[in-house]
Symmetry: C2
Subunit: 445 residues, 2 copies
């Protein structure tokens, strides 16, 4: 595929996006339900395409070119397709993030201002070789009225193509503007996509830390997401030891391969011995490797020596680094220096310390007496998760459908001009808040 072909697809998506912004909630939801049924109706074709991907991947696996977990994630099954269809129907049931009135004020009699949520435009989604990601990100874009240009991991090429065809056909047959969903396939085209800042409004990358960092470093397009989750738990001098043990166990052992698992525990010197002895036992039983500083190794002799590198490492595995600190400020400074601004927690019964930690730790989620593993769109009640953002601009933390919207100001007048509000005889602005919602106003136009 030449540069021009990627550009053509992005331009077609932009054109469709302008129309998609005008589609009603009802049409979007019926398209989503149609997509859900179509996935089940086309299960043979989808599983056949996936079987071809698996066959090709088997060769790569044998030659050590792909890992066994990647190969496992590549697999679709009838149950998996049912789950995906269920997910699509659940997105249909979510509230429409578009058309919400965010601000409404009368500037003067007959001059009304409304700030209303609307789609962003064109989303570029670049993701790893997991066939379930394409339907997920596509339907989130559809629900939020955005066009999408998709690029999936090449090992899932045939599965992605099959999902793309099913979703495109079902949605466009139900009134969604043709061209709203686009698929690009060759790995080298990603670099071209990253340059299309005139056509792509937001990139949503999913995948490894290296992959996301590569995207962030090589584009002027805003990127929503996170490269890593280097999460901390600080066990304060005034911690309840039982709570601290429960939380540190959950945050490391329950699912170590995810971004909201804990990687470093900081413990106050005053409570270190009392806390680390039982923690060492718990972790030993769970097969967790401990890397500690000198003071930790005096309490847990089996602990390996932690180096500076450990404070910067997201293990995503049954490994934990532990450091003893002499003050809460030392803990806060450590987190703001080595952390990834994702999720960090304090365990304490001291309100003053809790307040200090919550305010000064510069991360997207900061927790008191709870496991970092709660940091997640579904658990946060957002309905669906677009991603977890460690950036501070646009969206931060677990991001729901709202993260795929922006806003637009509508000003309705009756021949109003600015000259009347200037100079010595200027009319004053009233700036009275309005109770009317934009949806009512729009109907009455």
């Amino acid at each position: 595929m030449k540069m021009s072909e990627v550009l053509e697809k992005a331009a077609a998506a932009r054109k469709a996006a302008l129309k998609l912004a005008t589609i009603t909630t009802e049409v979007k939801n019926s398209a989503l339900l149609k997509v859900a049924s179509a996935i089940l109706e086309n299960k043979e074709a989808l599983l056949r395409a996936n079987a071809e991907d698996l066959k090709a991947a088997e060769g790569l696996l044998k030659r050590g070119r792909i890992s066994s977990p990647l190969f496992q994630r590549l697999k679709l099954s009838e149950d998996k397709l049912k789950e995906i269809a269920k997910m699509v129907r659940s997105v249909a049931e979510l509230e429409d993030p578009v058309g919400r009135t965010l601000y409404a004020v009368e500037l003067d009699r007959g001059l009304e201002l409304y700030k209303v949520s609307c789609p962003i435009g064109v989303i570029g989604a670049i993701f790893e070789a997991r066939p379930d990601v394409l339907p997920q990100i596509s339907v989130l874009c559809l629900k939020s009225g955005n066009a999408v240009v998709l690029k999936g991991g090449s090992e899932a090429r045939r599965s992605n193509e099959a999902f793309f065809n099913v979703i495109k056909a079902a949605s466009e047959a139900t009134g969604i503007p043709p061209g709203w969903i686009q698929l690009i396939e060759a790995r080298r085209e990603v670099r071209e996509l990253l340059r299309l800042d005139e056509y792509i409004d937001l990139l949503v990358p999913r995948g490894s830390k290296e992959f996301v960092k590569f995207i962030q470093a090589n584009t002027n397009i805003p990127v929503l997401g996170h490269a890593e989750g280097l999460c901390h738990i600080y066990v304060d001098a005034d911690a309840d030891i039982e709570k601290a043990l429960k939380i540190c166990y959950d945050a490391k052992v329950q699912y170590p391969a995810v971004c909201n698992a804990v990687e470093t525990i900081l413990v106050h010197s005053r409570i270190a011995e009392q806390f680390l002895k039982p923690l060492g036992k718990l972790y030993a039983e769970a097969g967790v490797e401990i890397r500690g500083d000198e003071r930790v190794r005096k309490i847990i002799p089996e602990a390996k020596r932690a180096t500076e590198k450990d404070w910067r490492t997201e293990y995503l595995d049954l490994i934990i680094s532990i450091k003893v600190v002499d003050s809460i400020q030392e803990a806060i400074d450590h987190i703001n220096t080595y952390g990834s601004k994702h999720t960090d927690a304090i365990v304490t019964e001291n309100g003053r310390n809790a307040r200090l930690f919550l305010t000064e730790v510069d991360s997207s989620s900061v927790m008191l007496n709870a496991s970092t593993r709660f940091s997640d769109g579904y658990r946060y009640g957002l309905g669906a998760e677009v991603g977890i953002s460690t950036g501070k601009i646009h969206a931060r933390g677990p991001v729901g459908l709202e993260g795929l919207t922006t806003s637009k100001y509508y000003l309705l007048g009756d021949g109003h001009v600015v000259a009347d509000y200037l100079g010595p005889e200027a009319k004053p602005f009233t700036h009275v808040p309005l109770k009317k919602r934009w949806s009512e106003v729009e109907r009455e136009l």
Copy 2:
């Protein structure tokens, strides 16, 4: 100044920002009032520094190195200082944008989630040679709890330095963390600043189109603002001619040098003659040069011939381009092709056309029967204007103090772990909305 010195200032700002995020509204407001008084108390020093800038600029003006409007904007006076002090006091009176509860939900009994507005961190402000910009952007940053690294136009160097010293001394004497405000001076240091994405969270550039485009193209740091305002008015076939004339006059003549002035008028062919004859007269009297397409020139013979380039030109002057279109869709397509996504208006009495235009025009402000000149933070009732954003990410349209904030999730538990909410005996999440505000919760910690 070496690279390391710019970096040192940015690093100092980041350090101060973490502390500034914890400062109460009361302390911030009393610091602002102190800054306002200090500006008046130090008027001699400020005017003296400004006089030196003016003296140096006079030479540049004579040699044609700077323009006369730039020279005019450079001037401070006692009245101007009073206005600036008043502006600072008005910012003290604005609601604190930090600490607002944006979302509050119970995840389960004793496990409460709060999404709360908070400062972004460090703002990089780069602006033209106008001595009033430095106090304005500094106090908006202070009010929103952000540290700021300032770089002003070099012709105002001494005035900027004087303002910087006054603001720094007054604020830091009133409890604002030292180092929150930083000034860099040499023009070449801007390039260095643009690379400091680890220290600067958001850039707010002000100045010419070329200047803002240069910033946008040369940094990975998010940029809030706009490079140009190529605003349109579409006069529909169902327009009220009187309203259309009034609005088109106001939007061009009242203040042509600003970003929300109109640059292109599109008029439906069915109403073209009826509307353009009187408009031509009005504009002729006001000294507006008209550039029109063939059909416009048949109705207004004095009009010059418009070329493709005119549809892309922000005149910022008493010049207007006019085009006759045969449908509202042609007008919408023209605007989405040539516009700058800033502000565009339709004049019509037809509700269906109004709805179509408002929804399909992809601009930050879209207006019905009102002048594009209303697009402004003060007129929109936002209290203060940080800038007008034509980007869609983070903030769009006139941006108030809210645009200098992000959000943070606080999760408060009592030893809660994720394992209890997984598996066959999983506890369900309650996801009950909470009425409590974060400010109350924080006090009770």
